[in-house]
């Protein structure tokens, strides 16, 4: 019958160096204290990566401070904007290369890096490039000032996109940065360092250091850092909040989530199924705003679950470089173990787990797309962030019950509402305690739209004018 033949994207466009140092003051340092970074889909070795010590962190912050004092703070907004536009254009020119590199190092499907991640990265730089000479109109009065040196620590789920969310507004506002990518996904950040060189960005404006949690902690603790931006787990977010308490450092934290995706009985069902799939299986569910709790109105539960399972059977899991792959690899062994453990717990607590019959590759880290039905609000899988391709299904009877259950979580990052009734969208959205609410869609991102959470999902906003404000001081 009609089986799709393999359609792998060629790797020829990407050449990794065998080992990488840190990118400090516009140059790569000699590799030191290296570890190996791999492709999670095949466990093959990709490159040696350096681990930054407190001394390396200090050098990077000094380079950023120096660039801030001597060059970057003296440039006009229009000049800063020119560099950002240049970076954005180079990202577009090298988009395919970046997409392949990201897919290799992260394990996510090429379909997503090609059509979502990398286009958004370019869009973020274009958007904030436009702000660089218009800061007077950001709402902080005339001539708002940058903080100085920004320390930025980002996660592994959208490596280059998270870099763009951090670096683009920081530079547009006039800050210089030291950024640490996640230990498992440093490669696109290091290619980005090459792009900074290619764009002729003044030395030290962007510094990239690699390493593990300790490197991140050293960076955030550095006394000459003015602003801290972190995206990652709520646990680490708490440590950072403690660490910077009592200092003058400004902080934004974008942390975990356990979003409710609420489907009312008058929803456009076929599109709701697509939204549920996109909400939880996009990027293997490694998405802080993933729609991981499906709240479905009781009357349509059977019909919706039937449609959802049938749709899940068409998901193609496998080689992330294949253009037809829908579900790629889990990013690390550690994450795979966490997902496996939580699903086991979910079943033990009474949930029923179901996954389509899909072949799991022998090498690499994989988890089949899974749905757990019969979940009660007390179950672990309804409360804890799984950060994997696992959907927990709960039911409700009335809009009030849906809102109560949706809000019954320590998190508050995102939510989805599915109904054909416009007035219900407005009313329910008004009652939901989440930073981002999608109506009849899910996981839509745009650089002009602010993104961020309530409660344990963090504070501060990224994207849009709000995202810019996090990197500026007002007159007062």
């Amino acid at each position: 019958m009609f089986e799709y033949a393999p359609a792998p994207e060629s790797r020829a466009l990407v050449t990794f160096q065998s080992s990488y140092g840190h990118f400090i003051g516009g140059k790569f340092t000699k590799p030191s204290n290296t570890y190996q970074t791999i492709s999670p889909a095949t466990e093959e070795f990709l490159a040696e990566i350096s681990t930054a010590t407190a001394k390396d962190v200090d050098l990077a912050v000094k380079a950023a401070r120096n660039a801030y004092e001597k060059v970057w703070s003296k440039l006009s907004g229009a000049e800063r904007g020119k560099y950002l536009y240049r970076i954005a254009r180079i990202i577009q020119e090298r988009a395919r290369e970046l997409a392949i590199a990201e897919t290799l190092n992260n394990g996510k499907p090429i379909k997503e890096t090609r059509d979502a991640d990398i286009p958004l990265v370019a869009a973020w730089f274009f958007y904030y490039a436009g702000w660089a000479d218009k800061l007077d109109y950001a709402g902080l009065g005339a001539n708002p000032k940058a903080h100085g040196v920004a320390a930025q620590v980002i996660p592994w789920n959208f490596p280059l996109m998270m870099l763009a969310w951090k670096i683009a507004p920081a530079l547009a506002a006039g800050n210089t940065v030291v950024l640490k990518p996640a230990e498992t996904t440093p490669l696109t950040a290091l290619i980005f360092a090459e792009i900074c060189q290619q764009a002729g960005l003044p030395d030290g404006v962007v510094n990239i250091i690699t390493g593990f949690g300790q490197t991140g902690a050293d960076l955030i603790a550095h006394k000459d850092v003015n602003k801290v931006a972190f995206t990652g787990s709520t646990g680490v977010g708490r440590l950072i909040a403690k660490q910077v308490a009592g200092t003058n450092k400004k902080v934004t934290l974008e942390l975990g989530g356990k979003a409710a995706n609420i489907v009312f009985d008058d929803a456009p069902l076929d599109q709701a199924v697509e939204g549920i799939i996109n909400g939880i299986f996009f990027n293997q569910g490694h998405v802080c705003c993933a729609g991981s709790r499906l709240l479905v109105q009781e009357g349509i539960q059977d019909e919706l679950m039937k449609k959802l399972k049938r749709r899940m059977e068409t998901l193609k899991l496998g080689d992330p470089l294949d253009k037809n792959t829908d579900i790629g690899a889990i990013n690390s062994k550690m994450q795979l173990d966490k997902i496996t453990k939580l699903v086991k717990l979910g079943v033990k607590e009474g949930g029923e787990a179901w996954a389509p019959n899909c072949e799991i590759p022998k090498k690499g880290f994989w988890y089949a797309p899974t749905v757990i039905t019969g979940v009660a609000p007390t179950n672990t899988v309804a409360r804890e962030e799984i950060f994997g391709p696992v959907l927990s299904v709960l039911t409700f009877r009335t809009p009030a019950e849906a809102v109560a259950k949706a809000n019954n979580t320590p998190f508050g990052l995102s939510a989805g509402i599915w109904t054909e009734k416009g007035s219900r969208i407005l009313k329910v959205a008004d009652q939901l305690n989440a930073g981002v609410i999608w109506a009849n869609t899910f996981n839509q991102f745009d650089p002009a739209s602010p993104f961020g959470g309530f409660k344990e999902s963090g504070y501060g906003r990224e994207g849009g004018r709000h995202g810019l404000l996090a990197y500026l001081k007002g007159d007062n």
Binding site: A7, D266, D270, Q271, K323, N440, T441
Partner: protein, 322 residues
């Protein structure tokens, strides 16, 4: 024989305009943005090598090779039929289209040319393409074509009646045409119900019209006449495939889908086949349940087929005009 199910059981009572309206308006709505996004995402599937070869052959086998012009002549129809019999004279293994689709008065010439080849003759009927004639004229149109030997009848629904909310009228007309499809020996010509989706305009309307076509006894639901501004599109076809899939869940009966008009390239045809596979399922990848209504598609598919076989692009001079 018409397949068996109880329309009254479907709508929950006697068939009246009100009961039809309640039933059709209780179907889940269609979100335009979501539907079109899903269609676009299926359009990015990359179909290569063996799967491409399979898809190109399947596209030919599922084709209703069509000529529907005022200037059609017996000679023109004969020429098209010969093209269907030997699509690619350089490759006698090339599959043949499922059917030739013509106006009713051309059926005898097509039957004559196709003989016992197994290629069906489909005739458009019921005052195609506008459908603006009395029911008596539409039925006579149908009967003439069936009598002349048409294997399949492509009827148009009364869009005026549909858009004015007179679902019962649409339903009754389809049923009447279905009866007119009956041959002397009691068997029925296959009935394709053209919704003319470009005139129904909204996706909600298209979903409702699909269900109306199915409950009234259509064997196929077809998008378009090819005579209006917007003809077949992938989102519309996707929506109709969801309808036949859900109908099968409810009744156990498989209805076919035929996008028609505007499908000109092999690349487009392959996208449609991807949608069939992933929405309705592999069970629909057969000429019995999926057809392309197309006139110029065949030659592009043949060129792609030659390219795949020989590694070289030939060009329009290496495929025959029809």
């Amino acid at each position: 024989m018409p397949k068996k199910f109880e329309p009254e059981a479907m709508v929950g009572g006697k068939i009246t305009n009100l009961s039809l309206r309640r039933w059709l308006h209780s179907l889940p709505g269609v979100d335009k943005v979501g539907l079109e996004a899903r269609a676009a995402s299926l359009g990015t599937r990359s179909i290569k090598t063996t799967s491409k070869a399979w898809a190109l052959d399947a596209a030919i086998k599922m084709m209703d090779l069509t000529t529907l012009e005022g200037m059609d002549t017996p000679e023109r129809v004969r020429s098209l039929c010969l093209k269907a019999l030997t699509p690619d004279p350089t490759d006698l293994d090339c599959p043949r289209p499922a059917a030739i689709c013509v106006y009713g008065d051309m059926v005898p010439f097509a039957k004559d040319a196709l003989g016992k080849s197994g290629i069906y003759v489909a005739a458009v009927a019921t005052a195609f393409p506008s459908g603006r004639a009395s029911l008596a004229v539409k039925l006579q149109d149908t009967k003439d074509a069936v009598k002349a030997g048409a294997d399949e009848i492509d009827m148009v629904i009364d869009r005026g009646a549909f858009l004015s909310g007179n679902y019962l009228e649409v339903y009754k007309q389809i049923q009447a045409v279905k009866q007119a499809c009956q041959r002397k020996d009691g068997s029925f010509a296959h009935l394709k119900v053209i919704l003319e989706t470009g005139e129904l305009q909204t996706y909600d309307n298209i979903r409702r019209a699909s269900y109306l076509g199915m409950i009234a006894g259509g064997d196929f639901i077809k998008t378009s006449t090819g005579k209006v501004t917007v003809n077949a599109t992938i989102p519309i076809t996707l929506l109709m495939l969801q309808a036949v899939r859900d109908w099968y869940d409810q009744t156990g009966i498989k209805i076919g889908v035929k996008p028609a008009g505007g499908i000109r390239t092999a690349k487009d045809a392959i996208k449609y086949l991807v949608v069939v596979k992933e929405v309705a399922g592999e069970g629909w990848l057969t000429p019995d349940l999926f057809r392309f209504g197309a006139s110029s598609l065949l030659n592009d598919v043949l060129m792609q087929r030659q390219k795949l076989k020989t590694g070289n692009y030939s060009g329009p001079d290496y495929v025959t005009v029809d």
